[in-house]
């Protein structure tokens, strides 16, 4: 629990928790540095040291633009936060929350004590689950054969109207495929919102982002192997990207509900991710400090 002062190192904070909480032992953070807690009154922070050469100003801004560095850092951050969250209640901090020393961390814990305690109480015993739905390829949504125009039996004026109708019909088929998957996604979200305590919608994922980050190829050092990236190429558009706050003991029930929805919605491909620390639920309304 001691951190010798070292000018070449800064203190990186991953998450806030209660000082009495016992996070798993042996957590390794960014650069495989051992994670420890910094305690101040009723609150504590999970921290490790990081090299100033990467995390100090101004170089950190440049590093953030480097996708491989960003990936390694994000995965290490996520691993610490989520492994701790699996055992104890934590407030995940945003990526790259960095301090000169542990005294600064303590000062921040003191300054934000009320807000942190309120959030910890609100989120205690809950974890976040991610549910993404993708529209499946709509082969079965093609117009029926009977709708294809036949040879024009009528005088010229008829084919003009027919042409217009056909154009409208084509447009409707395209729109309705999209509307159908949006509608299904909304129904999935509504059902899961009822099964969860809180829900949030993230913006839909760009499949190219998923592919780009999958292809960027930084070693996946964490135990949370991304099993979904392989499938990215065959996915349709992401029509739902939701986050759901669920009590620990209801996780199985929630996953079952997701499974039912997936079985009932052949037009969608539904994926469950988690458990995550409650990243998406730290925005409960608050008053100015």
């Amino acid at each position: 629990m001691t951190t010798p002062h070292d000018n070449g190192r800064l203190t990186y904070a991953y998450a806030v928790l209660r000082s009495g909480a016992r996070p798993p032992a042996g957590l390794l953070g960014i650069g495989e540095a051992p994670v420890h807690t910094v305690t101040e009154g009723p609150l504590a922070a999970l921290v490790s040291t990081v090299p100033a050469a990467e995390f100090d100003q101004p170089q950190v801004h440049e590093r953030l633009e480097d996708l491989a560095w960003l990936e390694t850092t994000a995965r290490a951050h996520r691993r610490v936060v989520d492994e701790a969250a699996a055992e104890v209640g934590v407030l995940p901090l945003r990526l790259v929350t960095v301090y000169r020393d542990e005294d600064s961390v303590r000062a921040v814990l003191t300054a934000n004590a009320e807000r942190f305690e309120r959030l910890l109480a609100r989120l205690d015993g809950r974890l976040e689950w991610g549910v993404k739905a993708y529209a499946r390829a709509p082969e079965e949504r093609r117009p029926a054969e009977g709708h294809e125009p036949t040879a024009p039996p009528a005088p010229g004026a008829e084919s003009g109207r027919e042409f217009l109708r056909r154009r409208l019909r084509d447009r409707k088929v395209r729109d309705s495929a999209r509307q159908e998957s949006d509608g299904l996604a909304r129904a999935v979200h509504d059902t899961l919102t009822q099964a969860a305590e809180e829900s949030r919608l993230h913006r839909p994922q760009d499949p190219k982002l998923a592919e780009a980050v999958a292809a960027s190829g930084a070693a996946d050092a964490d135990g949370h192997a991304p099993t979904g990236t392989r499938a990215a190429v065959t996915r349709g558009p992401n029509v739902l990207n939701g986050a759901y706050l669920v009590r620990r003991e209801q996780a199985g029930e929630f996953a079952e509900r997701v499974g039912e929805l997936a079985a009932r919605s052949p037009a969608l491909r539904i994926e469950l991710t988690g458990p995550w620390a409650p990243y998406s639920f730290t925005d409960l309304p608050e008053e100015a400090p």
């Binding site: 995390f55 950190v60 801004h61 953030l64 996708l67 994000a74 995965r75 996520r78 989520d82 407030l91 995940p92 901090l93 945003r94 990526l95 790259v96 929350t97 960095v98 600064s104 942190f116 005088p155 004026a157 003009g160 109207r161 217009l164 909304r186 919608l201 993230h202 913006r203 994922q205 760009d206 190219k208 982002l209 998923a210 592919e211 780009a212 980050v213 960027s216 964490d222 135990g223 949370h224 192997a225 991304p226 099993t227 990236t229 029509v239 739902l240 990207n241 996780a251 199985g252 996953a255 079952e256 997701v258 499974g259 469950l272 988690g274 458990p275 995550w276 990243y279 730290t282 925005d283």
Partner: protein, 118 residues
């Protein structure tokens, strides 16, 4: 642990992780000022790098976009696209109306001819 078998990060890709650690989580000021604006700019930049205009448009038309800060740009593009579609549609309508009118005129002329013929 009582988590279902699908848990423990199954299906989570780096995009899932980035959207959480960059866009979500508690924001507190660090000694190293990584301006939030920088991070937001970064994520926007990431999206722009990888998102073709077409995808960005798709991202802009989704029903759950209740966060006004997300993508004014995508919305603008969508509005532009709808405007263009409206204009195309209007032009097409006008052309078709002319064509129908011309054809109806011709049919009427033919029918007039037929009536006179017998």
């Amino acid at each position: 642990m009582s988590y279902p078998a699908t848990g423990a990060g199954g299906g989570a890709n780096l995009a899932d992780i980035l959207e959480r650690v960059l866009d979500r989580g508690v924001v507190i000021v660090g000694d190293i000022r990584v301006n939030l604006l920088d991070i937001e700019l970064l994520t926007i930049k990431l999206r722009l790098i990888v998102a073709s205009v077409e995808r960005a448009e798709q991202m802009g038309i989704d029903w759950w976009r209740d966060d006004p800060s997300l993508s004014a740009g995508a919305r603008r593009r969508e509005v532009d696209r709808e405007d263009r579609q409206q204009q195309d549609l209007a032009r097409e309508n006008a052309e078709l109306r002319e064509r129908i009118a011309a054809l109806e005129g011709r049919r009427d002329a033919l029918e007039d001819g037929k009536e006179e013929a017998p």
